[in-house]
């Protein structure tokens, strides 16, 4: 029998054990705490425990399971909320009440619920890993495609008829080439640290449309792409992730609350159950799964939560869906790595983080991609990771290493947040490397003017940046009128376009065609105003017309479904500027 020898927080050691394998899942002690083997040497096997070890005694038994830490994949994942090791928090609440105890073992998915299954194969068909063998309406929004699990291929011997079944009911029998019979039900297990196989990767060419102007216009992310969102506390990382989770055009959302606040998860759960998706008129929760490992839950499970989330994402991707993963916050995950590494007395690299931090970050983001699935459908996983840099200092290891592996960088700025300019994305520090890959799509789907207008916006903002250097030293009054106009247009762009109010009914989500129309309107205002200046009229006369503020408020005043109203604004600009004597 393998026994606990030493205990130090979540790290438990076993002496002289032989029968473990690295990354194997184990049960520790009489409460059967879930753990994972992280290293084996002649003397000691080291195990990290995913639950609180308070009360554990040396000498208690450790049981090997022969399987790496895995998730259970099948219908019932969506609308659910799990902890970092996929324990269903709703069920746990029903059983145990308000507080989570260690050693609770509940199956992740509802075993009693009956699902309507319709089969896609018949007796005599050949099936193989990854093939769709049946469909289940998991929610009114999502058709869950049941995939043949790994290791099974052969001829279908038996298929149940379409109808209602529970997840563990046997649906199909397959005979392999050695005449062994394999039984398929609705669930399969997959190790969380192992990426699910694909046929091949495809180039990224379609944006993940978020409805957030500063992202879609200035720093877009591709479907299958990656983005890092660093920012000090209170700069809006979580709000940003909520906004994207609510409004982006993915089919499935995996929202991972990794070491963050309990109330935020409650809020997400409440809000997503109430909010109606504008496209489908169904509650947003129907396409969402939440992984909640809050800051006060055990730290090892926090490390696992990221992998649990991304594995679930890959599973839906393999059905041919576009999945967006929100990870808030990857810094807490990195800190969990650091904490465990410290307990293992590993040599620390930068700021106490283990030397393998960069490779872990890389492995995580590399699980994103736009791919051809084993069943020849297209699917994607996009990953958006929040980063919480210590002291809001972007030179720290997690930010720096993430920057190496993500291709969108949305830097949130304390100063902007202090003046309540949200989304507080700093337009000089942020970038997207996808813009070239996506240009074809924008040109075709939104219009060639879109990227043109974008370029003009960037130029105006850069000019403002330069001019502000001067203004900071000598004030605005001394600038020539045409530069004052540049500053004024830049203000219109900042306040009227980049800044977006998440709490405003019309402004919270803005479709691309409205984004383009807003840009065109602002650029028209610039052009006309410039013309008026060239006629020798003073800039102060322009501001008196109030037209700049009218254009700033377009975002509130023109509803998303009444874009014809833009015409009025062109008239308004013409009239206001004509009236200047």
């Amino acid at each position: 029998m393998n026994k606990v020898y030493s205990i130090n927080g979540p790290v438990v050691k076993v002496k002289n054990a032989t029968d473990f394998t690295v990354m194997e899942m184990v049960y520790v002690g009489k409460d059967k705490l879930l753990g994972e083997v992280i290293s084996i040497s002649e003397d000691f096997t080291v195990i990290q425990v995913y639950e609180s070890t308070v009360g554990l005694m040396p000498g208690e038994e450790i049981i090997a399971t022969g399987e790496p830490i895995s998730v259970t994949l099948g219908p019932g994942i969506l609308t659910n909320i799990f902890d970092g090791i996929q324990r269903p928090l709703n069920k746990i609440y029903d059983i145990e009440g308000s507080f989570i105890k260690a050693g609770t073992s509940v199956p992740p998915l509802d075993q009693e619920k009956e699902w309507d299954v319709s089969f896609k194969i018949s007796v005599g068909d050949n099936v193989e890993f990854g093939q769709i063998f049946a469909e289940v309406e998991e929610t009114t929004l999502v058709n869950h495609r049941l995939l043949v699990p790994k290791g099974i291929s052969g001829k279908v011997k038996e298929v149940k008829s379409d109808g209602k079944y529970k997840i563990e009911d046997i649906l199909v029998k397959v005979e392999d080439k050695y005449n062994n019979i394999h039984e398929l039900n609705m669930i399969q297990r997959w190790p969380i640290k192992k990426p699910r196989p694909i046929k091949n990767r495809l180039p990224l060419s379609i944006p993940l449309v978020t409805g957030q102007r500063v992202i879609d216009t200035l720093f877009p992310i591709a479907k299958g792409g990656t983005a890092g969102v660093p920012g000090g506390f209170g700069t809006g990382k979580t709000m940003m992730q909520h906004q994207i989770a609510k409004w982006c055009d993915a089919d499935i959302i995996v929202y991972i609350g990794c070491g963050e606040r309990g109330n935020e998860m409650t809020q997400t759960l409440d809000e997503f159950s109430e909010l109606i998706d504008p496209k489908s008129n169904k509650p947003l929760i129907e396409r969402t799964v939440l992984i909640a490992n809050t800051s006060n839950m055990p730290v090892a499970a926090r490390e696992a939560s990221i992998y649990t989330g991304v594995t679930i994402a890959e599973y839906y991707r393999d059905m041919g869906y576009h999945v967006a993963v929100m990870a808030d916050s990857t810094s807490r995950w990195a800190e969990a790595l650091r904490e465990i590494s410290g307990r293992l007395e590993e040599m620390p690299a930068e700021e106490g983080f283990p030397a393998y931090l960069p490779s872990r970050i890389a492995q995580f983001y590399e699980r994103a991609g736009y791919i051809n699935t084993l069943n020849d459908n297209n699917g994607s996983v996009s990953i958006i990771g929040a980063i919480s840099p210590q002291g809001a200092d972007f030179s720290e290891p997690v930010t720096q290493n993430t920057k190496r592996f993500v291709r969108c960088f949305w830097a949130l700025d304390k100063e902007l947040a202090y003046s309540r300019h949200y989304a507080a994305i700093n337009w000089t520090l942020s970038y997207s490397e996808y813009i070239n890959d996506l240009s074809k799509w924008y040109n075709k789907q939104v219009g060639v003017e879109f990227l043109d207008a974008r370029q003009k916006f960037i130029k105006i903002l850069a000019e403002e940046n330069k001019l502000m250097e001067i203004v900071k030293l000598i004030g605005k009054d001394v600038l020539p009128d045409y530069q004052k106009l540049t500053l004024e247009i830049a203000r219109v762009i900042r306040v009227g376009y980049l800044q977006q109010n998440a709490f405003h009914k019309e402004d919270t989500f803005v479709p691309l065609d409205k984004q383009l129309m807003m840009m065109n309107l602002i650029l028209y205002l610039q052009k006309e105003a410039n013309r008026v200046l060239k006629q020798g009229k003073a800039f102060s006369l322009l501001t008196k017309t109030n037209i700049f503020d009218k254009v700033i408020k377009v975002k509130y005043d023109i509803p998303n479904d009444q874009l014809v109203l833009f015409d009025n604004y062109y008239k308004m600009i013409d009239e206001a500027l004509h009236a200047i004597k």
């Binding site: 507080f99 209170g234 759960l269 006060n296 800190e335 106490g352 210590q390």
Partner: protein, 479 residues
């Protein structure tokens, strides 16, 4: 199981080590008896085969390898709880120190608590009326929130905490039970007495449970003090339906105690010597705030921390800010200007306010007012820094107006002394101040709201009474 051992293997800082120990569990509590009759308390912090490390809360002075007897309790640290803790004073370890005898015990509870299931939480929405404009108006405190005060030495954080406690009326006052739990960590006797006296003056002393680990008390004991206090708070809120306000001061002293413990254990330090798990440790305290479905009570936390060197990027305020639901930041410059409470509104934030204000809670114009005040006051800072370069006289007309607005805002809105202001007064005052600015500068609000609340004539009239010079200036420049 009550195992007893005589003698130690090693003493190192606050840690003692025992050999040949069997049948003890991780984080179990122990009692340490000295030959001279003293009793101390400790906790198992590491087990290595039959070698255990025990953290001694009261410190290891006077301990020798021979003169000690160790008794294992068989369980993690628990303290006795009942409603009778209200009106009592306890040590940092949760033992009564007010000479009123033991407390009746209804239940023994593990001071570490357990994680609240997010599914069990109710998202907090009801605001607490503190009567302080810069809080109610701009960083609204919500029942069930954790909202720390970031301060620095010499600033009036204690006065502010006391004022909040005194004036905090719950926005919907029914027959609700209200209690205060106060935890002092490493503060001086003076400070503890000041709080006690203030609670007395407010007539709430019988509703307060105090847990005191003062500056001259054992340092390591501090690690347990907030846990005892929060255990009391959770008991009162979730089992007895009290609305509990927890004031914890000074979190910086708590973190320093944790650092001392960590370094004595030889752990690899993170930033500034604080342990790498400081975030998780603080979270295990701050996350013990909230409202749950199964009870009518709530736990609201107001931790106070002094920022070393007024540096908000120091690990303690930094990690705190990442865990709490906002922060109230005190500003030394305002303090030096004689403004009380000196709340620096720009870095201050209440994350929960967005769902706890507006129609049905405070007033429908609250959110736009807040947005606009923040934005306009941020512009004041730009105007001021420009003025410090080119001189105030050289400012443009608009910038001058911002400067005046900034002064009036600080003088009338932020500064309010110990007065209690209703939410209506606070909001009206906010609009009056904004009306000092040209209407088209108010770009965070839509026209409809402005039409209702923007009134420059009245504003000039209102502030004219007190600030003739500024207003004359404003009128002269015209709009």
């Amino acid at each position: 199981m009550n195992l007893q051992y005589i003698g130690l293997k090693e003493i190192n800082g606050p840690l003692i080590f025992l050999e040949n120990v069997k049948g003890i569990s991780f984080e179990e509590m122990v009692e340490i008896k000295l030959d001279n009759g003293q009793t101390r308390h400790g906790r198992v912090v590491e087990i290595n085969g039959d070698l255990v490390a025990i953290l001694v809360f009261e410190g290891t002075q006077d301990l020798s390898l021979k003169n000690t007897t160790i008794k294992f309790s068989g369980h993690a640290m628990k303290i006795g709880m009942s409603e009778n803790v209200l009106g009592r004073v306890f040590s940092g370890l949760g033992e009564p120190i007010d000479n009123l005898g033991p407390v009746y015990v209804d239940k023994y509870l593990d001071i570490n608590g357990s994680a609240l299931n997010p599914v069990a939480r109710i998202y907090p929405r009801n605001y607490i009326n503190t009567g302080i404009s810069s809080i109610d108006g701009l960083t609204t405190l919500i029942r069930g929130q954790k909202l720390p005060i970031f301060s620095g030495s010499g600033m009036p954080h204690n006065d502010l905490a006391v004022q909040i406690v005194k004036q905090a009326k719950l926005s919907d006052e029914k027959d609700e039970k209200f209690a205060i739990v106060f935890a002092a960590m490493g503060v001086t006797n003076d400070v503890a007495n000041y709080f006690k006296k203030s609670f007395e003056e407010a007539g709430v002393l019988d509703k307060v449970a105090m847990y005191l680990n003062l500056a001259d008390d054992p340092i390591i004991e501090r690690i347990l003090t907030p846990r005892c206090a929060l255990t009391a708070a959770e008991y009162l809120a979730y089992e007895k339906d009290f609305h509990v306000l927890v004031v914890m001061t000074d979190m910086t002293a708590y973190c320093e105690a944790l650092r001392e413990f960590s370094s004595s254990k030889g752990e690899i330090p993170g930033r500034k010597g604080y342990p790498g798990y400081l975030y998780s440790d603080l979270a295990s305290l701050f996350e013990r705030a909230g409202i749950v479905k199964d009870a009518d009570g709530s736990v609201t936390q107001i931790p106070i921390l002094s920022m070393p060197n007024d540096d908000i990027t120091h690990p303690i305020p930094d990690l705190t800010g990442y865990i709490t639901e906002g922060q109230i930041v005190l500003d030394r410059e305002l303090h030096q200007k004689g403004i009380y409470p000196p709340i620096g509104v720009l870095p201050s934030l209440s994350r929960l306010m967005k769902d706890g204000i507006g129609s049905g809670y405070t007033r429908d114009d609250h959110q736009p007012l807040t947005n606009q005040l923040f934005a306009s006051y941020a512009r004041v800072m730009d105007a001021r820094s420009l003025a410090s370069v080119i001189g105030e006289d050289e400012l443009s007309l608009v910038d001058k107006k911002y400067v005046s607005f900034g002064e009036l805002f600080e003088e009338h809105f932020i500064s309010q002394g110990h007065k209690n202001r209703s939410i209506t007064d606070t909001l009206d005052l906010g609009w009056k101040l904004l009306s000092i600015l040209p209407k088209d500068e108010l770009d965070r609000t839509d026209e409809m709201v402005l039409d209702r609340f923007y009134d420059q004539q009245e504003a000039i009239h209102y502030f004219n009474i007190k600030d003739k010079t500024i207003i004359r200036e404003l009128k002269k420049e015209g709009n």
